[in-house]
Symmetry: C2
Subunit: 232 residues, 2 copies
């Protein structure tokens, strides 16, 4: 029987990352049904008949965060197909997608009544997530760290307008390192299309006001952003 071709159930799971209170955080939902009732899990849903997996992931993203998936860049993390990973049915295979969101005002209750909330990534593995979502989350965070290095996606963590200091904080928090402020400033301003000045300034509580920028048109970051030691 194991040699026979068979059908499987396909789901798309989302790893929506943001930065809240200086911590890399992920949107998790509390499961209301068995198995793993009461445990936290990544938001996700079943593939429908008229859509691709990426479209399913985009639909989930809108339901959970009200963010337009077209504006965000949805990145495929990988496919998880180990037999028995879902106790409910013999074969439930999932494809995980990474989305990076700005700090949203609200725990964004989805259109469905599930209780969604932001959880710092370091706390997410505490009792452990449902299914193999710990593994998926770890892979997605790894991917996010790599994307920061080679793409301009770090701006997706910020709002429409941000300072270079905001952007540097994104790198420092996601990578868990300190970056040299002067060198970072030059790097992002010298890279064509990374950020463009809006002309505005923002005064923080203390210190000199910082110039405001918005995301530029470039998506690739060449040369890549290097991870230095500690200069914060």
């Amino acid at each position: 029987m194991s040699r026979a071709r068979q059908t499987v159930t396909l789901t798309a799971d989302l790893v929506i990352l943001t930065i809240r209170d200086g911590m890399l955080s992920v949107l998790l939902v509390e499961r209301e049904n068995e198995p793993f009732r009461g445990r936290l899990a990544l938001p996700g849903g079943f593939l429908r008949g008229d859509e691709s997996l990426e479209q399913a992931a985009a639909r989930e993203l809108v339901e959970e965060t009200r963010l337009d998936a077209g504006a965000l860049r949805l990145q495929q993390v990988g496919i998880y197909s180990a037999p028995g990973r879902d106790p409910r049915r013999p074969r439930v295979v999932t494809c995980a997608y990474l989305a990076i969101a700005p700090d949203l005002p609200v725990p964004v209750a989805g259109s469905d009544a599930r209780a969604a909330r932001w959880v710092p990534v370091i706390e997410a593995a505490d009792p452990g997530l449902a299914f193999d979502h710990d593994c998926i989350l770890a892979d997605a965070v790894d991917l996010a760290r790599t994307l920061l290095q080679f793409s301009t996606i770090a701006t997706a963590f910020c709002g429409p307008e941000f300072t270079i200091g905001d952007l540097r904080e994104v790198y420092e928090i996601v990578w868990g390192v300190g970056l040299d402020k002067p060198n970072f400033h030059r790097k992002v301003t010298d890279t064509d299309g990374f950020i463009v000045p809006t002309g505005g300034k923002r005064s923080s509580f203390t210190g000199r006001p910082a110039a405001l920028y918005r995301a530029g048109g470039a998506t690739e970051l060449v040369p890549p952003m290097m991870r230095s030691r500690f200069g914060a």
Copy 2:
């Protein structure tokens, strides 16, 4: 009806790349059944009940090439789930895996009777492959080019022993550029764990004999291999 959860058929397709006669080539099989009867397609097969997709891909690889998947590094290219991509059934979703193989002695007829043969990648798109395999192949070749830049996987194109010139040819053929010989030599010898000398030498028809090397233990290539202009 389109909102209902449904089951799909899952397959694992393989993009097995090698270098033959100085050309990047891919292993293709001729389809014996409709649809796309007589057209070339990527080797692949249905997921069985007791295995993951990666295991299914590894099994296919052994069947097609007799290569141990454990020795090779199987890389996930992506998932292809557009509705209607397979005319046979409403939903057939495939996950594509990239394998890089040394130049094998034989067109390696698989254990099944399918006629498998190596086809240069530039010729593969000539009448077009079956299904969306043109797209999968293009994505896999892109991935291979990127992997050559950031990993040591280029050695997988070579046999157990190879010269630095052999390795340089791999880069030149896959990237379609010429590389500076002296700089390439230093780059690979200076990178710890990329290649290790075996002590042997190989005399070609002409010129000074080249030292032989085997693949080292490193998998990542830092700093990455750069694509220069043309110095061949």
